[in-house]
Amino acid sequence: MTRLVMSGAYAQSYAALLAKVQVVSAYPITPQTSIVEKLADFVATGKLKAEYIKVESEHSALQVCVSAAGLGARTYTATSSQGLLLMHELLHWASGMRAPIVMGVVNRAVAPPWNIGADHTDTMSQRDTGWVQIYAESNQEVLDTVLQAYRLAEDPMVRLPVMVTEDAFYLSHTVEPVDVPSGEVVDRFLPPRDARAVLFPGVASRLGSFTGPDHYVEFRREVARAMDNVPATFASVEAEYERLTGRCHGGPLSTYRTEGADAVLVTMGTAATTARGVVDELRAEGKKVGLAKLRMFRPFPTRAVRDLASRVDRLGVMDRSYTFGASGPAATEVTAALYTSPHHPTVSGFLAGIGGRDVTPGEVRRMFGALLAGEPTEIRWIDLEEQQELKIDG
């Protein structure tokens, strides 16, 4: 093990290096660029023996991975925001073809207006594409999760693509000390991809094909089953990773000081760090509050959310994106998970950190304050409170 100071972007690159990916495809987009720049260095200096394909669009970037994975290669690509949106069609192809691609996504706002700040609209818009989605809180978690993602994606019970996301700039361009496991440890954890390629060169076979209703439903059901297998497989992957490295990031819904809590705030990505500090402050003040970090959004950890709900009367959910005409996507999912649960805590939705706006401890305190006051709200635009709303209509 080595401790290196690196950005969240480089944490993706180092993880791809350690995973010995065989095919990398890349199209640049801010703030993803340093991920693929570092990988170019690794390939140029011989540290990573991979085919590095510089494509002409993100659509092609993912097609390169889908086709390469179809022949049996371990593949990696990374993108952000508009690039992820352009990939949308291929996201469905990847999961439908059961291509175990791992992709780094730097969560960035979607235009217009142009904005490169942290925001989850890009990945939330892809939640129905059959990809496993894991949101990281720290650079360490980025590196560990990418390695875990390959084991998960390539597991015969799963065989689905995985995106490991990190908040723009708060992680991608912020350096932190990261413990990098040795190559030997990673090799033990992550053996080469099963050589049984999906497509056998020189043998009559077809990957993709077309079907009528007579078989199509079965194919969809297989993807659904694979998704259903993710929680158990991920638990064993995390356990083995912990045995080898001593690190575990706490399952799909990682809780902090939720014992005996009157109110728990559910957050995703880097907002968890801010919220954890606020939980400590409020606990010191005698207020019983806790935090639940929603790491995995697909498959949605329904059981873990219900388990949390059995212990708490008031839940708040902070979203970093908004579904127009509905609500915050995480708040909606949490609420839906509880409908058939015997426990029904109140669920309040909070929108914060949209388009890279800072999520301050003060704002998190306000969210907890509202929860403790017992005033459930469907959705509150926290970003717009306590300041003059910017008037854009003259």
Binding site: S25, G202, R206, F210
Partner: protein, 297 residues
């Protein structure tokens, strides 16, 4: 007696779902004979998605990967990268895409693949329209042709615009090899496929693929129409290797285009002036080709 030069082994089987007289099916059959079984095909959404027959059957004796309509070029780069990374030797990486999936929506990925100099063969079978979806116009539809989106009624008289010059676009990328094929000339087609197979780098094959239901002619006339297309200069046969042009069928003076036009319902509304305009265009293109052959000799 002429020596038979067409390889006997079949890699396209009976039971395929092509229309009778389908030029795209003929092209596939001959192209695969030239490539052999060590071939992986990437096929976008096109007629061939269906011709290969639905799951769990396949009319093709090679491995096939389906890809979305606009991504064949990228798919070839991915397949080649994986083949290299995994040490698969002597594997032909081949795209087989329609004209819409190549010259329209797939142009970006094709350009990317050519610019990256992906070691693969891209075959565009040109049935001059979106035939699988019911005969809509594409960039490769010839000027004046009837399609369902360029009707001949009211103020519309077929496709107002000319045919996109895909060979010109491809050649601007300086590929290792580019050639036009016509299943009506199987020896010429096979020779070019085998030549492409044995070269490395980006290779592009543009094959004529007459379409009886789309072009409105009787299915038994596909070969005859194909011969006419080349001999009238509508679809000249040539190849370009490292920038050097060579016309591979030159039968003296070109036949008039009139017979080719009259054979197809999609041109039924053509006036003598329309035929004359096409004749002029064909003559100019042919003269350009002769010039290119001479200049690059």
């Amino acid at each position: 007696m002429a020596k038979l030069t067409i390889p006997a082994p079949e890699l396209m089987y009976s039971g395929h779902a092509a229309c009778p007289g389908c030029g795209a099916a003929l092209a596939m059959r001959l192209v695969l004979k030239g490539l052999g079984p060590r071939t992986v095909l990437s096929i976008p959404a096109c007629c061939w998605t269906v011709i290969a027959t639905p799951y769990p059957t396949s009319a093709l004796g090679v491995s096939v990967l389906d890809n979305p309509i606009e991504a064949t070029g990228a798919s070839l780069s991915g397949l080649r990268a994986a083949a290299d990374a995994l040490g698969y030797k002597d594997l032909n990486v081949v795209g087989f895409a329609g004209d819409g999936g190549t010259a329209d929506i797939g142009l970006q990925a094709l350009s990317g693949m050519l610019e990256r100099r992906t070691n693969a063969i891209y075959v565009m079978y040109d049935n001059e329209g979106y035939m699988n979806t019911g005969v809509q116009r594409s960039g490769a539809t010839p000027q004046g042709a009837w399609t369902t989106t360029t009707p001949v009624e009211g103020t519309s008289r077929g496709k107002p615009e000319g045919k996109k010059d895909i060979m010109g676009i491809v050649l601007a990328h300086r590929p290792t090899y580019a050639a036009t094929l016509n299943p009506a000339f199987p020896e010429d087609l096979l020779r070019k496929v085998e030549k492409a197979r044995d070269l490395t780098g980006p290779r592009f094959l543009h094959t004529f693929a007459p379409c009886p239901p789309g072009w409105k002619y009787s299915s038994e006339e596909s070969i005859e129409l194909g011969r006419l297309a080349t001999d009238a200069g509508i679809f000249p046969l040539f190849e370009v290797e490292n920038g050097r042009y060579r016309i591979t069928r030159k039968g003296g003076a070109l036949k008039p285009v009139d017979e080719y036009v009259r054979a197809q319902g999609r041109f039924r509304h053509f006036t003598p002036e329309d035929v004359q305009a096409l004749q002029t265009e064909v003559r100019l293109a042919w003269e350009h080709l002769l010039r290119m052959e001479k200049e690059t000799a």
